[in-house]
């Protein structure tokens, strides 16, 4: 089942105004992504760790996530030490690992994980529905927000359909293998899901028409900013400015 693993919780971070979380997460991610010096990146990693701690999430789940999503990084580690130009540090058969290459690989790894941790702490701790509403308030086009919320709503319905179809296949002795029969069967499964989704969409559209829908989406969402939110925002912006400063100094 598709679950929002980190969305429920009682921490300070969970209760922050979602708009603040989105804005700060975005700026933070951009600044970290564009930073390169080690002082700035280590500062970023520290900030992310503080955020994760404040969110009081299950460390086991967070670590599991990090391991899963570091695949590409791990893959790059196989190459970077040897392909990056620089001073040879040690040799592995015909390959020369460079100091600069390893430094670059570490840099990417720190960057990636710092951003991921911050995204878990700030975005994944907000229910998707709330995120949708908050993005709407931040001037993301209405039609995109509707698409986002609708898609999320029906993922669950369709996942259940998928689950039942897959069970039915299993019950009839289907064991996936590397052969055409398997690929054909999966393709039919996908086709059936698409067809059923299309039919469902037609019924949903009918249900919307019945309730007076005429192409315009209205919204009810309300958010209110508390003092805690303002304080968080000020602190976070200062921290980000600090990081920019460190980075800028490093470049000069």
């Amino acid at each position: 089942m598709i679950e929002e693993q980190f969305a429920s919780g009682e921490s300070f971070v969970h209760h922050l105004d979602p708009r603040m979380k989105i804005i700060t997460a975005f700026i933070y991610a951009v600044v970290v992504a564009l930073s390169s010096g080690f002082p700035a990146l280590l500062a970023a990693l520290a900030v992310s760790l503080v955020l994760i701690t404040l969110a009081r999430l299950s460390m086991r789940k967070v670590l599991y996530r990090l391991v899963v999503v570091n695949g590409l990084i791990l893959f790059l580690w196989i190459f970077l030490p040897f392909t990056y130009q620089g001073e040879a540090w040690f040799t592995l058969g015909p390959l020369h690992a460079t100091r600069e290459g390893i430094a670059f690989a570490i840099q990417i790894t720190v960057k990636c994980n710092a951003i991921l941790l911050a995204l878990i702490a700030l975005l994944a701790t907000t229910p998707i529905v709330t995120l949708g509403h908050a993005m709407g308030r931040l001037r993301v086009p209405d039609i995109l927000i509707q698409l986002f919320l609708f898609t999320y709503r029906y993922i669950h319905v369709i996942f259940q359909e998928y689950d039942r179809l897959r069970n039915a296949m299993k019950a009839r002795g289907f064991v996936p293998r590397t052969n055409t029969h398997t690929y054909r069967s999966y393709a039919y499964l996908v086709g059936m899901l698409l067809v059923r989704s299309y039919d469902r969409a037609e019924r949903i559209h009918k249900a919307m028409l019945c309730r007076g829908f005429r192409g315009k989406y209205h919204t009810l969402s309300q958010f209110s900013v508390t003092r805690g939110d303002v304080a968080y925002f000020m602190v976070m912006v200062s921290v980000i400015l600090g990081m920019v400063l460190i980075q800028w100094k490093a470049i000069r």
């Binding site: 996530r65 590409l72 990084i73 190459f79 609708f150 319905v157 590397t178 393709a187 698409l194």
Partner: protein, 206 residues
């Protein structure tokens, strides 16, 4: 084929975001607000389908399906894929925020290209043509995505070249699988609900 956070350089990220914004705005212009349920529920189906792991030898790969997404949704596959990637980033932390733009382009642009190349051909009366273009659609979409991912990496950092080449080569089997899956899926839709093929969700009929 998500590129993770922290790997790409500023010019690549900015270009990716700009191209994605352009593609999405074309998509949104073509989307009738009344059709949101259609596009959304199909996007949900693609999201769920991309969780399917198909075996390939001793390992397995998950489906991408950006070719068939393009066939069904045309330009609307830009917003559709954006939403799916955003949900994956929030739910599973695949991809991320700063790479959302470039990842969307890498997946959706091949979808749109396949839409223009194949949406007429897959509904062709001659079975051979329709099946062959189904396969080509699935194959090419993943091929182009792999190339775009490789280009993004190489542009960001020259020393990614070897890794990028390997990514393209490693996706060859995936291209074949996606080709087969798309072929059978097109055959299925053609028989069961032909009106789904051909980007009918776009406001302006072509």
């Amino acid at each position: 084929m998500h590129i993770s956070e922290g790997v790409l350089s500023a010019p690549v990220l900015v270009t990716g975001a700009a191209l994605a914004a352009a593609g999405i705005s074309v998509g949104l212009k073509k989307m009738d607000p009344e059709k949101i349920p259609q596009v959304a529920v199909l996007s949900s189906a693609f999201f769920v389908a991309s969780l399917i792991h198909v075996p390939i030898g001793p390992s397995s790969v998950h489906l991408i399906l950006n070719g068939i997404n393009g066939l069904l949704l045309g330009w609307l596959c830009f917003p559709s894929i954006l939403v799916a990637l955003a949900l994956q980033a929030i739910l599973f932390q695949f991809g991320g925020i700063t790479v959302l733009g470039i990842n969307t382009v890498n997946m959706a642009l091949p979808g749109v290209i396949c839409y223009y190349l194949f949406s007429r051909l897959v509904t062709h009366e001659r079975k051979v043509i329709s099946l062959a273009s189904g396969f080509a659609c699935g194959f090419l979409a993943v091929f182009l995505s792999a190339i775009l991912v490789a280009l993004s990496l190489v542009w960001a950092e020259g020393s990614f070249t070897e890794a990028a080449e390997l990514i393209v080569v490693a996706h060859l089997p995936v291209m074949i699988i996606e080709g087969l899956i798309t072929l059978f899926c097109v055959a299925f839709l053609k028989r069961v609900k032909p009106e789904l093929l051909g980007g009918r969700h776009e406001k302006r009929a072509w």
